[in-house]
Structures are given as structure tokens and as C-alpha cells.
């Protein structure tokens, strides 16, 4: 099963229609399940829903052999965490699909690193769906730990700063005077 998801904030007619068209062309033999948000185009080749509860979303995700989505960081993260092959089509500003072209930038980078497949236009989508079947995503090495450590260090500096220690002392004296 291929899981198509476009997020819930904005519609994404271009992608949903392109996948539906690919089905008509006979490129897709697998079953598709789609979460299409406020997209006005209604696909006729597969079942689609507006939104999914987290639990149901996760169930479809686990079951899927591949995922097709917009290039949202949320979805990309989920796909990488679950080691699922992902094909994205970036939302573009020129079509009013998003406020800026950040999705294009992240799609390019992650494609370059071998984490995801990207279809930049509707025309290339069918070929990429074909590739998705055998695509093995390269796992990403996250530096979240290092970032968290940097922030912790900063928090420690704030927590023990002269200014804070003074404030705490004043607060303490104030509370003591109230109690005592």
C-alpha cells in the first residue's frame, strides 16, 4: 500500500491529481490510501480522507510500503524515523501552495543526501513512483543531542548568572519576611 499525505494546513491539488493521473496511466498497481486535507480535487482511483487521528495515521504509515507527500519537515521526519521510502513533491509559492519556497530548498538538500526522492513537477511523478518501489533511503545522523547539550549549557549559564542568583536571593528574602 502507498500512503499519500499532504498535511492539513493547505490544500495540495497538484499532487493529488498527479497521483490520480499516474494511476490512470497504469503506473501504479498498488493500493493507495490518501489523506488530502482541504484539497478540492477528489481522486477517483483511490480512497481519500480529509484528516487522520494520530493513531490512525501511524497505522497507515506502518502498513505502507512507500509514502508520497509534500516536502513538509514533519512528514519527512516521520518517514526517516520509520525507514520508509518517501517521494515528495515540494509545494511552491508561485501556485499559492505555501508562503515561501522553503519546501523546494529542503527537498533539494535531502535528495542530494539520498534521504528522499523528489518530483519537482507533475510530469516527473510517474517515473519517480516507479523508482520508489526499490528506493532504499539513506538514514540521517541527527545531531539533536549536541544541540540539546548546547542549549542545556546555555540554560545552566542563565540559571547560575549573577542576575538570577540576586533575583532568587531577593525573592527568598521576600518570601521569608512574609512567612516569618
Amino acid at each position: 500500500m502507498i500512503f499519500l499525505t499532504v498535511g492539513t494546513q493547505f490544500p495540495f491539488d497538484r499532487l493529488v491529481k498527479a497521483v490520480d493521473d499516474a494511476f490512470d496511466e497504469g503506473v501504479i498497481s498498488e493500493e493507495i490510501f490518501a489523506q488530502i486535507g482541504e484539497t478540492s480535487y477528489k481522486p477517483h482511483n483511490f480512497e481519500s480522507v480529509v484528516s487522520l487521528e494520530k493513531k490512525v495515521f501511524d497505522k497507515h504509515l506502518k502498513k505502507a510500503s512507500g509514502i508520497i507527500s509534500h516536502a513538509g519537515v514533519g512528514t519527512i521526519t516521520i518517514a526517516l524515523n520509520n525507514e520508509k521510502p518517501l517521494l515528495v513533491m515540494p509545494r511552491l509559492k508561485k501556485y499559492g501552495e505555501v508562503v515561501n519556497d522553503h519546501q523546494l530548498a529542503i527537498a533539494r538538500k535531502f535528495e542530494e543526501f539520498g534521504h528522499i526522492l523528489v518530483a519537482y513537477q507533475e510530469e516527473g511523478l510517474a517515473k519517480k513512483i516507479e523508482q520508489l518501489k526499490s528506493f532504499i533511503p539513506r538514514q540521517r545522523k541527527s545531531n539533536a543531542k549536541a544541540v540539546a547539550a548546547r542549549i542545556s549549557e546555555f540554560l545552566h549559564k542563565i540559571g547560575t548568572s549573577e542576575e538570577r542568583l540576586y533575583r532568587r536571593k531577593v525573592d527568598g528574602a521576600f518570601i521569608k519576611s512574609k512567612i516569618g
Binding site: G7, T8, Q9, S51, K54, G72, V73, G74, T75, I76, T77, I78, L80, V99, N100, H102, Q103, A105, I106, R108, K109, R140, S142, N143, A144, K145, A146, V147, A148, A149, R150, I151, S152, F154, L155, H156, I158, G159, T160, R164, R168
Partner: protein, 156 residues
Amino acid sequence: MIKGKENLRICLAASAGGHISQLLKIVDNWNGYSTFCITTTEVVRDKLRQRGKVYIVGECNRQHPIRVIKVLVRCIKAVLRERPDVVISTGAAAGCMVCFLGKIIGAKVIWVDSITNVERISLSGRMVRYIADLFLVQWPESAQRYKNVEYVGAVI
């Protein structure tokens, strides 16, 4: 008021979706801090519950000024009630507002610009840069381009 590690009350502010998932990647490496969350939609409430009280302020962007005001009012209420010592945000618009509100009440501001901003920091990030006490980006290229911006690594 309940305070955690380092005696600090920390506000985690980010929009639902990629922004909050990046913030959680950081927070998952911690424990002991006293936190609460400000986010934009109900969808993520369950995911955040274990990180303290959750305030839902609604979605907004620059194209809908009236919605921005509604969201701003909810952010003000949350910040005044919780009085954080630190605000940590990954964006976008709502996170940016919370940073400015936090700064007004004397909180320290930590901004981690979203990984989607490859060559250039986000619009919200560019505004928060003026008031941020710690500003991190996730690509070395953009750290070189701006002053007082640090690159430690990407959280994803």
C-alpha cells in the same frame, strides 16, 4: 510557581507539524526541566502533554492579519499566566510572537531556526535575531552568512 532544573520555567513554543517535531527532538534529550508548551493546533496536544501544560493558540500567517491578532491575544494570555524565564522556539509566526512577548517580561530567548531554511534564515528568525540570547541554525552555510548565529548541528 513550580520550577525545575536550574530553577527555570521554560516555554516551548512552535507551530504544529515540522516546527514542533524539531523542538521535540531537542527536548527528548533532556529531563528535569520545568516546561510548558504553546502550539497552534489540537492535533499535537497529546504529543506534548508530557512536557507540561499545553496552550493551543491557533494557526496564522502574514496573509491573515485578523487571525494574527487573535493568536497574539492567546499568546499574551499564556505568557502572562506562566511567566517563563526562558522561551525556546523553532518558529514559525506564533513562535516568533512568543519570543517577543517573553523578551518583554524579561525572559531569555533561544531560537533554533528550522532545518528548511537552507541558505537563508526564516523571516521569523530574522526578526527574532535582534532579541535572541542564543540563536542556532541547522546548516553551516547560514551560520557563516549571519553574525551572532551558531551552528552546532541539525536536529533531524
